[in-house]
Symmetry: C2
Subunit: 413 residues, 2 copies
C-alpha cells in the first residue's frame, strides 16, 4: 500500500480523490500497489465529504509524515504552492501537479530539487488537461528533433472564438455565455489575455528544448480585439481564427515563441478543434506532424491525468523518470519583433482609397472581401515580413490617414 | 555504451539505422548511454551501405552475443520473426518491434516470455506509425476505464477513400494511384480487405482490456465494395466514409470489436483525417474523447517510434515496463451478429417502388438523395438494429425483388 496526500480540495483535487476511490481496483492493478489518501490539505471545511476525517489545515502534517511518498499539488498559484512543493521534493517525496503557473514560473528550480533528492516531479495535467502530451512529447518523440509545437491550449478562448465563428456572437456575448456555463471565470483576464496559453506553451517549449522558457519573456496577445468582421474575413481567406501558442526552432538555435490569435487554414487539423477542446500539433523531423486532441480542462479529465502521474510516481519510487530542463536567462528566446509571418490587416480610410494606400505601403497584398462591408473598409493579407517591418508599415499607413483596426498573424501550420 | 541489433534492413530497418546515426548525440542524452548498432540481420547484400561491415545472415550472431541488450525486429511477418523474437526474449534481451502481424497474432505469448525473462517487449510502432498511442494508452490513460477506441488505422485505404471523396476517383483508379505513389503494395489485399486495420485494433483492444483479442475472432470488412454512389450518399447524409477499426466495452463485459467502413459525421474529429494520415480516438470514462493524429506509416515516422522504444528499453534494462495482456480463448469477443448500428443501405428495384418496400421491411427509415440518381435507385438510413436483424431484413428485401447493392454502418463516434 502506498500513501499519498492531496494539497487543495477544489475542482481538480476532489476529482483526484474521486477517481482514486472509484477506480481503486484497476489503479491497484496498474500501480501494483493499493493507493490510499492519508491527508488532504485545505483551509476550508468539508464536513460532508467522505474524506472529512483526513482533512488538515497544517502543511506540516504532510511534510513530516514519512509514510507519505507522493504528494499531489492542485492548489493553483505560486504562493504557497511553490514553497510546499519544494519542501516536499527536498524531503524526497515525489510531487504531481496540475498547476501550470507553478511549472511555467518555477519548473527549472523544482526539477532541480527533484533531481537532487532522487524524487520525481510530474505535471502531465498542467497542459492539455486529460490529453496525454507531456509524456508523449518527452518519451515517444525522443527520437525526433522537434521543429515546432503549435497548439490551441486554452479551452475558454476556443469556446468564445467558436461561438463567434459559428453563431456570429460578439466577443462580449460569447464571453458572457462562457461565464454562465462555468467555462470562464468571473475575472476572465488570464484566459482572454492569453496568459494561460502562454504558461502552457512555455512548459511545452521548455520540455522540448531542455531549457526553461519563462512567461515573462514571451510575446502574448489575447483575443479581446477580435471582432466579427475579422471572423468574416478569416472565412473569406479560407480558415478560422484560433488563439495559438507556438514555439519554433530557428536555424540560429534560438526559439521563436509567442501566443497570438491566428488565421488557421481549413487544411490544418487545428482548424477543426472547436468549443472547449484543445489540440496540440508537434512537428518532429522524423514523425512529421502529430496532433493530440481532447478536453483541455474539466474536473475528471484533469484529475485523471494527475492520477496517471501518481501511478507513474509509484512505479518509479526508487528511480527517476527522465523529465528535466535546465534554468536559463531568457537569451534563447528570439525577440518577437524578429518573428516572421504574413499578416491580415483590416483598415478604414475616410478620405482616399485605403486599398491603394495599403498597396503603396506593403507592395504585394491580397484583398479580402465580405458581405455588408462599409464603403471605407478594406482588409488584406500581406506577404511574409518581420513584426518589426509590420509595425513600421502600420505606422506608415497611419501617417497616410489610414485607420488600422486590427492585424492578425497568418498561420503557416 | 549500449549495443543493439536490427533484424531486417527494409524500409523501417534502414530508417532505424539512419535515425540512430543522425541523432547520435541527442539520443545519447536521452538514453544516458551511447547507442551502437552491432549487427544487422538480413539475407540480402548491402555492399554500399554505411553499415555494410556489420551485416550478418546468421541469427545466432545476434542471439549468442551477450553484448547485445536490445534487439529491433523489423522483418515483418510471423515466420521467422516469432521464433527469433521469442528466442531473444528468452535470453533476456529486450525486443522492440514494428511488426503488427506478430504482435496481433503472438502478443500474449511474447509478453509472457518477456515477463518470465524480466525483459521488455515494446511495440509502439506497430500501431499508428509515428503517432504515440501504445504508451499514452497504457500510461497516461491509466486512471481511466476505456469505454471505446475507434480509429482510422490504415493509411492506404484512407488515401484511397480520400481520393474517392475529394476527386471522385473510382476505387480502382484511386488504388492504382496509391500503388504508383508507393502507398499501396502490388498485392494490396491486406490493406483494402481490412486485415491491416484488424491487426491494429486487436493490439489496441488487447492492451486496453488486458486480454489478447485475436484477428481471427474479429469481423473484418474492407473497402472494395465502396462506390462513388456511396460516397455521394454519405455526403448527403452529412459525412464521409472512413474505414474504422473499433472496440467497445459492452455492459456484459464482452467487447464489440470489428473493422468496417462507416459513415462518419463531419462533427467527428475522425472525419477530417485525410490522405495517408491515421487518427485514433480513445474514449475514457474520465478524459472523454482523446484523439491522436499523424502519419500512420512511412520510413522515418515508424522508425522514430522504434527508436523511442529502444531508448525506453535502455532506460529500463534492469526493470520492466508494465505493458502486458493475458492470453484468451476468444470468449470475450461478442459475436458480430449482435453488434448494433444504424445502417445505410443502397438498393435498386426494377419493378415496384424500392422505397416503399424498404419502409415495409425496416419501418422508420430516412431517405437520402443524390444528383443524377437512376430512376430505380434508392438509398436510406435505418434505425439502430443488430447485424443479425439487418441480415434478416436484407433477405426480406431480396425476397421482395429489391437488389441490395451495399450496406454500410453509421458511425456513432
Amino acid at each position: 500500500m502506498i500513501q499519498i496526500a492531496i494539497m487543495g480540495y477544489g475542482v481538480v483535487g476532489s476529482g483526484v480523490a474521486e477517481i482514486i476511490s472509484t477506480h481503486k481496483q484497476s489503479l491497484a492493478k496498474k500501480a501494483k500497489e493499493e493507493i490510499q489518501i492519508k491527508h488532504i490539505l485545505d483551509l476550508r471545511e468539508f464536513p460532508d465529504s467522505p474524506f472529512a476525517h483526513i482533512f488538515t489545515k497544517d502543511f506540516n502534517d504532510i511534510l513530516n509524515d514519512d509514510d507519505v511518498k507522493v504528494v499531489v499539488e492542485v492548489m493553483g498559484g505560486v504562493k504557497p504552492a511553490f514553497e510546499f512543493v519544494k519542501a516536499c521534493l527536498e524531503k524526497g517525496k515525489s510531487v504531481v501537479t496540475s498547476n501550470k503557473e507553478l511549472v511555467a514560473k518555477k519548473g527549472a528550480e523544482l526539477l532541480a530539487a527533484a533531481q537532487k533528492a532522487n524524487a520525481n516531479f510530474l505535471f502531465e495535467a498542467s497542459v492539455g488537461g486529460g490529453i496525454p502530451i507531456i509524456r508523449p512529447l518527452n518519451q515517444c518523440l525522443a527520437a525526433n528533433d522537434v521543429d515546432e509545437i503549435a497548439g490551441i491550449l486554452n479551452g475558454t478562448t476556443n469556446f468564445i472564438l467558436t461561438k463567434m465563428i459559428r453563431e456570429q456572437m460578439s466577443f462580449k456575448d460569447a464571453l458572457a455565455l462562457a461565464q454562465s456555463l462555468g467555462y470562464a471565470e468571473r475575472d476572465p483576464s488570464a484566459d482572454v489575455n492569453g496568459d494561460d496559453a502562454c504558461r502552457k506553451i512555455c512548459i511545452l517549449a521548455s520540455l522540448a528544448y531542455g531549457k526553461h522558457i519563462y512567461p515573462d519573456n514571451i510575446y502574448t496577445e489575447g483575443i479581446t480585439s477580435i471582432t466579427l468582421e475579422d471572423v468574416e474575413y478569416a472565412a473569406a481567406w479560407g480558415g478560422v481564427i484560433k488563439l495559438i501558442g507556438e514555439v519554433k526552432h530557428l536555424e540560429s538555435g534560438k526559439k521563436d515563441v509567442f501566443v497570438a490569435p491566428m488565421f488557421i487554414s481549413h487544411d490544418s487539423q487545428l482548424s477543426s478543434v472547436d468549443d472547449v477542446f484543445n489540440g496540440i500539433m508537434v512537428r518532429g523531423d522524423s514523425t512529421g506532424d502529430v496532433v493530440f486532441y481532447g478536453k483541455g480542462a474539466g474536473k475528471l479529465p484533469t484529475a485523471s491525468a494527475v492520477v496517471a502521474d501518481v501511478i507513474d510516481c509509484i512505479k518509479h519510487l526508487d528511480s527517476r523518470k527522465y523529465l528535466f530542463w535546465a534554468d536559463s536567462n531568457g537569451e534563447d528566446v528570439e525577440p518577437y519583433e524578429n518573428s516572421v509571418a504574413a499578416m491580415y490587416i483590416r483598415v478604414t480610410q475616410d478620405k482616399g482609397n485605403a486599398y491603394e494606400t495599403a498597396q503603396q505601403v506593403f507592395g504585394n497584398i491580397r484583398r479580402l472581401t465580405r458581405n455588408n462591408a462599409t464603403a471605407n473598409e478594406c482588409a488584406f493579407v500581406t506577404d511574409e515580413m518581420s513584426i518589426k517591418e509590420l509595425r513600421a508599415k502600420i505606422s506608415q499607413l497611419t501617417d497616410n490617414g489610414v485607420n488600422v483596426l486590427n492585424s492578425i498573424r497568418i498561420g503557416d501550420l
